[in-house]
């Protein structure tokens, strides 16, 4: 169980990247969602013990990892958003190096993990010649070396092709059955099928933390579909939150977030998770 209690991270007096965030995370996949600059990466860096909160506590199984970071490091797997590999090192040597740093003694584990991420045939190839997708898979294998209880992965699907993205999703879902997997992204489709809970961040604050079903439930009755002509579309754009617009000949097919019917002929629609999140964001903006 990971607990964040009133965690704040400020850079100087001007910038507060994470503000008074409180959260309890049991095992399972948690999707950390927010737009760029929402504070996701800063939060993950604090969980990964790379930086310390300005105030607040982070507890892992009851141990304060801000005061004693070693309490989590041996049980942590971390893959940052941007990472690389050493030059002139094969994938196998890269794994051996990190295995030694993590105190992993079983050489068979390296082989198993390379198989898991489908890189076993490339083990003796220079890692610096890998494609972006292969590199990210190698990074995942590295993060899993010590069989971590908590896996923190920041934007893991960036640069992956659809097939690799699907494989990664399945792998994380499988891991999430037993462990805590914290996965940050701003691509909702990456988490909607695997995350048990979604933590939504905005401007450093946690604005919601719930199951995808609950978030969808809250958005039901607020997403509308309509078909309008171009002139009406311009008017609607100014007065409502248009989620999607698709030109169909002379008319425009719209999906709109609004508490009541936005125009004549508008029909209530079942929201997608992305639409539900957008509707929630707009509702929050209006409430503010």
């Amino acid at each position: 169980m990971l607990e964040l209690q009133n965690v704040t991270k400020s850079f100087g007096k001007q910038v507060t990247a994470v503000a008074d965030l409180t959260l309890r995370l049991p095992a399972g996949v948690v999707g950390l969602i927010g737009h760029n600059g929402a504070g996701k990466t800063t939060l993950m860096q604090m969980i990964a013990t790379l930086s310390k909160p300005s105030s607040g506590r982070i507890l892992f199984d009851g141990a304060d990892i801000v005061a004693r970071p070693e309490a989590i490091r041996a049980r942590l797997g971390y893959l940052p958003q941007d990472f690389g590999v050493y030059r002139n090192v094969t994938a196998l040597e890269f794994m051996q190096y990190f295995a030694a740093l993590k105190g992993v003694r079983d050489p068979a584990r390296i082989r198993r993990l390379l198989e898991l991420v489908n890189l076993h045939d490339q083990a003796r190839r220079m890692a610096s010649t890998f494609s972006g997708g292969m590199l990210r898979r190698l990074g995942i294998a590295q993060a899993l070396l010590n069989d971590p209880d908590i896996l923190v992965v920041d934007e893991p699907s960036a640069g992956l092709d659809p097939e690799e993205r699907l494989r990664l999703r399945n792998l994380l879902a499988e891991l999430g059955c037993k462990k805590l997997v914290i996965l940050s992204t701003h691509i909702v489709s990456d988490v909607e099928t695997i995350a048990g809970r979604l933590a939504i961040m905005k401007s450093g604050r946690l604005v919601a933390c719930d199951t995808p079903d609950a978030i969808l439930g809250r958005a039901r009755g607020q997403v509308w579909s309509a078909s309008v002509d171009a002139a009406d579309y311009e008017a609607l754009k100014a007065s409502t939150h248009v989620l999607q617009a698709l030109r169909q000949g002379e008319r425009v097919a719209l999906r709109i977030a609004h508490p009541s019917a936005p125009c004549a002929g508008a029909q209530l629609s079942e929201p997608s998770l992305e639409e539900a999140l957008m509707a929630q964001r707009y509702a929050l903006q209006e409430a503010a």
Binding site: L50, E70, Y78, F83, N88, V89, E93, A100, G103, S128
Partner: protein, 524 residues
């Protein structure tokens, strides 16, 4: 693009480049080293040391003497340190992904290279300017005549300008032509620098006079200027040294430079720009065909080519990885760093093996040169050990491991020291039997160098800060064979227990400074 636009582009890029370089921590570190060095080399005659002596007689600290003496030291330092500080900007562009953006932009390749060269020159001139200000401050304290700024400026222009042009041109060429990018270019330049020093010795002895126009460091001009006024054939000492206090001090003329010397130096300055011309012609423009994949690029550089050929030797590092996995805690992590260092540079495994064989086979009297060669290789090898995580983009991953960033710093220091022991250990053990003091000096020196390598890498974020100072220090150490403090690793046998303690103390201070910086970074 018309000329006005080109000039505007070059000016903007050059100023930006100079600003980027000046903001680096490595610049601050180098400036501090330059300030310390300039005060150290202008010894206080009251203490029995002087910057310049001829036939054992001290030369008065007039503007001409201090300008000449300091320029001769500055040319040695900036020719090597300047190169390592200047180069690497295009590799940064490539790493950050901006290389592709620049390559696809409307900026012409030649104006871009020219702007980089101008930025480098501005930076180098700024460093030289700070050096000159420090010497002027020293003149205020120890000088024996009025400060004549024009004498300083004129001397620096004659001696240092061709050197600065050559250094900036070579750095630009090594950044612009893929075969010279990486350590291959570093090594080649260092060999060239050593060649210039050898040439200087030959010119002083009256040989190789036809090579004077390619003496970019300007030592031939200094020798010619002094030779025109004094008999310097038998005894002349530049740089800190002793003198005979019984002899009357000499005074240099205010202006030392003949029209012929100025003409030759002007020609040398033109020749110094030849590498820049090559850079303009050979610029890669961040073309993926020439710079990617990394394996293709690195195999073209001589050192990378050698490492490519010796790649099978990397398997010899496998047992070290296995050992690292078995060793508990920090010991295992240190061994992992050692294993990674050797496997990424298989040539180091070949050198390591050869060093062991030679250390066993050579006569004890031949061990010091072997130790010198091993220390030189080791210094180059480990210069990037504390920066490689950040260079490779593995910094965050490695900092989240057991021990975190703080332990990483100490384990990297331990790995650098352990590698030093691996290269020199057998020779040191043999030396311990016959010259235990030398063996102890080697230990304290290796520790101090390891601490400086790790601290400078950590604080400046660049391997080249240590590399430049290490190579310059190595040269000074080889030259000053009777100075105890210069005998850092004991290959002259001049080190004393006091000098060893001093180096060990400086090593500890450097190690602690790096640790404080590490903590500061984490807290902020």
């Amino acid at each position: 693009m018309n000329w006005h636009m080109r000039w505007h582009t070059i000016r903007t890029l050059a100023l930006l480049d100079a600003r980027v370089r000046l903001r680096r921590t490595s610049t601050l570190v180098t400036l501090l080293a330059v300030v310390a060095l300039s005060w150290l080399m202008i010894g206080n005659p009251a203490d029995g040391v002087t910057l310049l002596s001829i036939q054992e007689a001290r030369v008065r600290y007039t503007s001409a003497a201090l300008a000449l003496g300091s320029a001769s030291m500055a040319t040695l330092l900036f020719a090597i340190a300047g190169f390592y500080l200047l180069r690497g900007r295009m590799a940064e562009d490539q790493r950050s992904g901006l290389g592709g953006v620049i390559g696809a932009s409307a900026a012409g390749g030649r104006p871009f290279v020219l702007a980089r060269w101008c930025g480098g020159m501005l930076y180098l001139l700024a460093l030289i300017g700070v050096f000159m200000l420090t010497v002027l401050a020293c003149h205020l304290v120890r000088g024996e005549g009025p400060i004549q700024p024009l004498v300083y400026l004129g001397t620096y222009l004659v001696v240092l300008l061709p050197m600065a042009l050559f250094t900036a041109s070579c750095a630009t060429l090594c950044d612009s032509w893929p075969p010279l990018m990486g350590k291959g270019g570093d090594l080649l330049y260092f060999l060239g620098w050593m060649g210039q020093l050898s040439m200087m010795a030959a010119i002083k002895n009256g040989a190789l006079t036809s090579a004077i126009p390619v003496d970019f460091m300007g030592m031939s001009a200094i020798i010619a200027a002094l030779g025109a006024h004094f008999d310097i054939r038998d005894s002349m000492q530049l740089g800190m040294g002793g003198f005979d206090a019984a002899l009357a001090p000499l005074t240099l003329p205010v202006w030392m430079w003949s029209a012929q010397t100025i003409a030759i130096r002007t020609f040398t300055a033109l020749l110094a720009c030849l590498p820049l011309w090559l850079a303009l012609v050979l610029f890669h423009r961040f073309s993926p065909d020439r710079m990617k994949p990394a394996s293709t690029r690195t195999r073209r550089s001589p050192l990378a080519l050698l490492n490519g050929w010796l790649r099978p030797l990397a398997r010899l590092a496998q047992p070290l990885f296995a050992l690292a996995a078995r060793l508990p805690g920090v010991a295992g992590q240190v061994m992992a760093d050692v294993a990674l260092t050797l496997s990424t540079a298989p040539s180091s495994i070949a050198v390591l093996l050869a060093a062991q064989v030679m250390a066993l086979a050579l006569d004890a009297r031949q061990l010091p040169p072997l130790i010198l060669a091993c220390v030189a290789f080791w210094g180059v090898l480990v210069s990037d050990l504390s920066t490689r995580d950040a260079d490779a983009g593995c910094g965050a991953m490695a900092a989240a491991l057991p021990g975190g960033a703080a332990r990483r710093y100490w384990r990297q220091l331990a790995a650098v020291f352990l590698l030093g022991l691996m290269f020199t250990g057998v020779a040191a053990l043999r030396l311990a039997g016959t010259a235990p003091l030398r063996a102890l000096a080697l230990l304290s020196g290796l520790f101090a160098l390891a601490a400086f390598a790790t601290m400078l890498g950590r604080t400046s974020g660049s391997a080249r800060t240590f590399l430049a100072l290490f190579l310059f220090g190595l040269y000074m150490a080889v030259q000053l064979d009777t100075v105890a403090m210069a005998d850092v690793v004991g290959f002259h046998g001049a080190a004393t227990p006091l000098s060893m303690l001093a180096w060990a103390g400086m090593g500890l201070a450097a190690a602690w400074a790096g640790h404080v910086r590490e903590r500061w970074d984490r807290a902020s």
